[in-house]
Structures are given as structure tokens and as C-alpha cells.
């Protein structure tokens, strides 16, 4: 049902027939409005992208939009990226971000998948109450956990280590993960589980050989969501990991650069783009899965 076809049918049936010209005009107005909004939305990112490839002098003497008006005289360079990645430490921060993000995505998925299976297909005392508590925990603000967890981490000498952030993100991501996975796993046909049981499969076998393969779409949605969430997080990293160079993640590196060299726009724009590159790639590549996890996901504390 293309919009055009719809239009034609509607006008055939409606009383007064709009002229061909007015229909054409309407179509163009819509296109124009859409174009204007898209341009407004894209301009901020475009400015950063262009500036990150301009020499420091150029960035600081005239606006990035002059590359369009003064077309012949543009110089382009990778030296901003070189400087940010190597001497300012974004290269290291990028690897640190990976070391934080991958386990902080995989661990909650594993733990949540087992729990979701139990909530959906196993019988145990307190099942409903516990699950309702999980639903309630979905919206708990992250801020509620910061102070006590920090003092707990200090007591156990965990603060400033990767496991501290992995576990914190696992805790904060679990309610959403359990909720999403349980809804999905619970909607798998029960005949499937029963026939597997009749064939003598244990719960563990049903889970690993049947449920996990069938749940790949929802696992992917949550994985993407959690990945973006952890990668883009500043607060948890700031509190539990800190700014030491050997653990500092990209969001923190960017914030530090903003603090120390807040007017060095050739560096800030390159740094900003480095932090954005991977999530943008993941997002553009896997948009379909991402949308699915979105509604439930944004409620996350």
C-alpha cells in the first residue's frame, strides 16, 4: 500500500476532486518539510564530522560551513585523529571501552536467559512475587544504587577495576533482560517443551538446545541495546571505574578532553567522532533488532 495509490483511491471516492496541480503541490510540500527536518537533524553531526578532518588552523579561524562556500581552498587532514588516538589516549580508551562493554553485555544475557527460562517454564515457590519485583525494578533510577555500591566496592577493594563495572552493568541491565527474555521465552509453544520432556530431555538440555536457538532474535535485540547503553554510559564508568589512563573509557576520555582543552575544536570533534563511530555502525547495521528492544528498553534505570 504505497502512499500514492492510497491518495488516488481516496480522491476518487471523496466528494470534491482536488486538481492534479494541488495534489502535486501537496506532495512537494510534504517532501520539502521532511527535507528541512532531516537537514536540521543532520547538521550538528555533519559539522562535527567535517571539522574533525580540517586542520587545526582552519577549524579555529572560520566556521566549518565555509568549506561549502570556499570550495577550492579546502585542506583535509587525518592529523586530528592521529593526535587524539595516540597522544591523547583515545586509542587506549577505545580498547578499554571494548573490555568494559563486551563482558557487560554478555554476562547479563547469560544470567538473564537462565532466569527467564525458569520464570517461564519451571515451577518454584515465590515465582510470581519475584517476577513482579523484577518488573518493579525496571524503572529504579540508577542513582539509587550509586552511593551504597561505591562504598561496597571500596570495602571489597574492587573500585576502579573492570569487574566492578561489569558487575554494576550486569545488575542494572538484568531487570530489562529478564523481562524481555521471559516474555519471549514464555510465548514459545508449550507443546515443544512437553515433547522434548517426553523424549527425556532435561531442563538444561531443553534450554541450551531448544530455547536458546529459538530466542536468537530477542537475545540480539537485548544485546544491541545493552551494548549501546554500556558503550555510551558516562555515569557508571565515572563512579566505579574512574579516569586513570589504564581503565578510562571513551566517554570519560571525551569528557576529560572537554574539560582540559574545551576550545580545541579540531581535537574535540575528532574525539567525539571516535566515541560515536562504533555505536553508529552497530546501529546502522542492526537497526531492525534495535527497534524491537527499544520500547521496553528505554525505561531502563
Amino acid at each position: 500500500m504505497t502512499a500514492v495509490g492510497q491518495e488516488v483511491r481516496a480522491t476518487e471516492m471523496a466528494g470534491p476532486k482536488p486538481t492534479f496541480m494541488s495534489r502535486l503541490l501537496e506532495g512537494w510540500i510534504i517532501k520539502l518539510v521532511i527535507l528541512i527536518i532531516v537537514i536540521i537533524w543532520i547538521i550538528p553531526t555533519l559539522g562535527v564530522l567535517i571539522s574533525s578532518f580540517r586542520p587545526a588552523d582552519a577549524v579555529n579561524t572560520n566556521g566549518w560551513w565555509t568549506v561549502f562556500t570556499d570550495f577550492g581552498n579546502n585542506e583535509w587532514t587525518f592529523s586530528n585523529y592521529d593526535q587524539v588516538l595516540n597522544s591523547i589516549g583515545f586509542g587506549n580508551a577505545f580498547l578499554n571501552s571494548l573490555s568494559v562493554t563486551i563482558p557487560a553485555t554478555v554476562i547479563p544475557i547469560t544470567i538473564a536467559a537462565f532466569a527467564a527460562y525458569a520464570f517461564a517454564w519451571m515451577d518454584f515457590p515465590g515465582r510470581n512475587i519475584i517476577f513482579v519485583t523484577v518488573v518493579a525494578l525496571l524503572v529504579i533510577p540508577l542513582q539509587m544504587a550509586l552511593i551504597p555500591l561505591l562504598s561496597l566496592y571500596v570495602d571489597f577493594d574492587l573500585n576502579g577495576t573492570f569487574p566492578a563495572v561489569w558487575l554494576a552493568h550486569t545488575g542494572f541491565g538484568l531487570p530489562l533482560a529478564i523481562y524481555l527474555l521471559r516474555n519471549y521465552i514464555g510465548s514459545l509453544p508449550s507443546s515443544l517443551m512437553e515433547s522434548a520432556k517426553i523424549d527425556g530431555a532435561t531442563h538444561f538440555e531443553i534450554f541450551t538446545k531448544l530455547v536458546v536457538p529459538l530466542s536468537v532474535p530477542v537475545l540480539a535485540s537485548f544485546a544491541i541495546f545493552q551494548f549501546l547503553w554500556v558503550w555510551n554510559d558516562l555515569l557508571v564508568a565515572l563512579v566505579f571505574l574512574g579516569g586513570e589512563p589504564d581503565v578510562r573509557v571513551v566517554t570519560l576520555a571525551l569528557r576529560d578532553l572537554n574539560g582540559s582543552r574545551g576550545e580545541a575544536w579540531h581535537l574535540l570533534t575528532a574525539g567525539a567522532f571516535i566515541t560515536m563511530a562504533l555505536p553508529l555502525a552497530v546501529f546502522l547495521g542492526l537497526q531492525r533488532y534495535f527497534v524491537r528492544g527499544l520500547t521496553a528498553g528505554s525505561v531502563k534505570g
Binding site: A3, A10, M13, G15, K31, V33, I42, G47, V48, G63, S99, T110, I111, F114, A118, W121, D123, N128, I129, V132, T133, V135, A136, L137, L138, I140, P141, A145, L146, I147, P148, L152, T161, L167, A168, G171, F172, L174, P175, I178, H203, F204, N232, L234, L238, D246, V247, L254, N258, W265, T269, A272, T275, M276, L280, F283, L284, L294, T295, G301
Partner: protein
Amino acid sequence: MTIHTEQRPAEPEPQAPPPHPEEPTGIGTQLLRIGVSLVVPVLAILGLYFAGNVLLDEDSNRVIVVVMAIIVGVFGVFGLYYGMDWLINRMPDRYRDKVRPFAFVGPAIVILAIFLLYPTFDTIYRSFRDPTNASFVGFENFSRIFSDSEFLISLRNSVGWVLIVPLFSVVIGLGFAVLADRLGRRGESFSKTFIFMPMAISFVGASIVWKFIYNFRPEGFGDQIGLLNGVWTSLGNEPIAWLLQEPYNNLYLMVILIWLQTGFAMVILSAAIKSVPEDIIEAARIDGASEFQVFRKVTIPSISSTIVVVATTVIITVWKVFDIVFVMTGGRFGTSVVAEKMVTEFFTFRNSGSGAALAVVLLIAIIPLMIANVKRFREQEETR
């Protein structure tokens, strides 16, 4: 939240296996259940702790750290579950079925208890105590929040954020979804991608992107390199330090979050619009309704529940916004918000009492949503 749930007995779910005939559950079973719940998280934490320490001490190749982290994360945690199952299979018959569910669900419960439940109660407790958590001060922290002018400004700003950002995100998102619906399929998904894209950008990244837009140079210090002042001065005006203009600077910060959240509203609302039955819309058109009337009288009422869900979701995000204010202004120039103030109070001023009290303020505002969530969930379960 447990009070709420305990008022009603838990209904058995239709898809649940029939409960076992009630045998008395012995103390041995209970102990095994607790033990089984604890083993995986405790071993996991210890394993992660040592793995993390070793890797940090080595101070070695980052790539190795990443690979090790993945191995520990994927295989380590899964291996623990596998080991637990192996153990349970070797238990006496009468324990096996009663203990097994806890090997599956126990680790999650333990982690939720340590990382969310306990901190929540501890934060509430600390909010009634002095800055160093040494003695009780009653409601002093809260009375300070609601009387001190600094705190009142952050409360005012937070309320402003919660009113303005969701409104604009939903209105722009809805408008865009409706218009894009009338483009061809390719044009629609292409244009939507651009609006949606900022969803993937971190709040810190977005802040830098917009700080560049708002950049200001006093007159005589060279060309403006911020787009907004570039446009503004080319119209013959004096450059403006946008982020210092109280109270309008709050609006300029809100623009960033509107930019980030509109895509979310647009995608969800677009899906809802497409699910409005075609024949209702056709019928309205046959009755001579204009396109705008169809939109107002048919489309909007049919998607009203989705609009509520989207607005609520954006409200929660906005209410907890921290990064944008923290990076853009550090909460100065009259721009602080509750979530940012909470972090500053605790980490800059080392005041655990008022930091906790601000977190509690955040929580209290969200409790109605929490109850609504639980209610909606229970209704869903009844109709399954």
C-alpha cells in the same frame, strides 16, 4: 513495591506446569536452594575479580584483555551454570526437582538483591543521615532540598525538562511519522534513519556536538565558528554566549535531548500509525473528512495509548538526565537538574546524606510509573 505485590495472592499462570503435590519442604531443601543460588554469583564474582586483577597488574596488551574478558564473560559464566547442573544431577531424587529451578533463577536473584534491592534501601536509609553517614538527622536533608535556593533551582529545571522535552519529542516525532508515511517506502525509511540516528550517540558525544553549535567568541576575537552564532551574526546581530543566558540556557540544553529522543518517539509512533485499520480511515474519507480531520479525529484517538507510553518513556529518560548538564555547564549558570545535582553533592561535596536524599526524590517521582508498570503487567498476565 513489595507491599503492593503482597496484597494479591500470586495467580498460577496458565502455561505453568502443574504444581507438585504439596510435600513439606524440609530445611535441607531450603539450604540447598540458597546454596545453589549463591554458588554461581559468588564464584563468578571471585573469578572476575581475580581475572580482572591479573589483567590489570600485567598492564599488558589491551587486545589480550579484551579477549580474556570475552572468554570469562561468555564461557566462564555459562560454565558455572553447567557445573551447577552437573552437581544437581548427582543429588538425591527428592531434592533434585526442588533445587533445580534455583540453579537457574538464583544467580539473577542474588545479583538483583546485591546491585539493586540492597542499594535502594541503603540509599533511603542514608537520606536520613548526616553527610558522612554517621548519625541520624531526620528529615533535615529533605527540608534542605526543598528550601535551599540552589536545590530549588535544580528542582525547577528538572520539572521544566520533564514538561518540555517529551512534549517536543512527541509532537515532532508524530508530525514526522505522519508526513513520512506519505512518502514512498524507500524515501520513508531513508528519511527516518536520519531522525533516528542520534539514538545511537552517547549523551556526552551529543553534548560535544551541540556545544560546537553553541560556541561563542566575543566580538573582535575572530570569526564565529559555532553555527548558531555564525547565522546570528550574519543577520547583523552581536554574538551571544548562549549557554550563559539564564534562564534560556536551560532551553538550549533541552534541545539536545529533544534531538536525541525524537527519533525514538517517531519510530514507535510510526509503527502505531501504520497499524490503524485502513478501512476506518477510508470510511472517514468517504464521509468527506479532510486529511487533517482524519488525522485529528481518527488517527490520534486510535494511537492515544501509544502516545502515552512514548511520553512516559521519554519522561523517565528526561527525569534522570545527568550527562548533558554535567558536560555542557557542570550545573553552573542556573542549569543544574536533580540527577546531576545528586552526583555533584555526593562526589564533589562528599555529602552522602543530601546526595542520597536527591536520589530518593528521583525515585519517589518514578514510583507511580512503577506501580502502573506492575499493574499493566498483571493485566497482561491475566489475559494471556
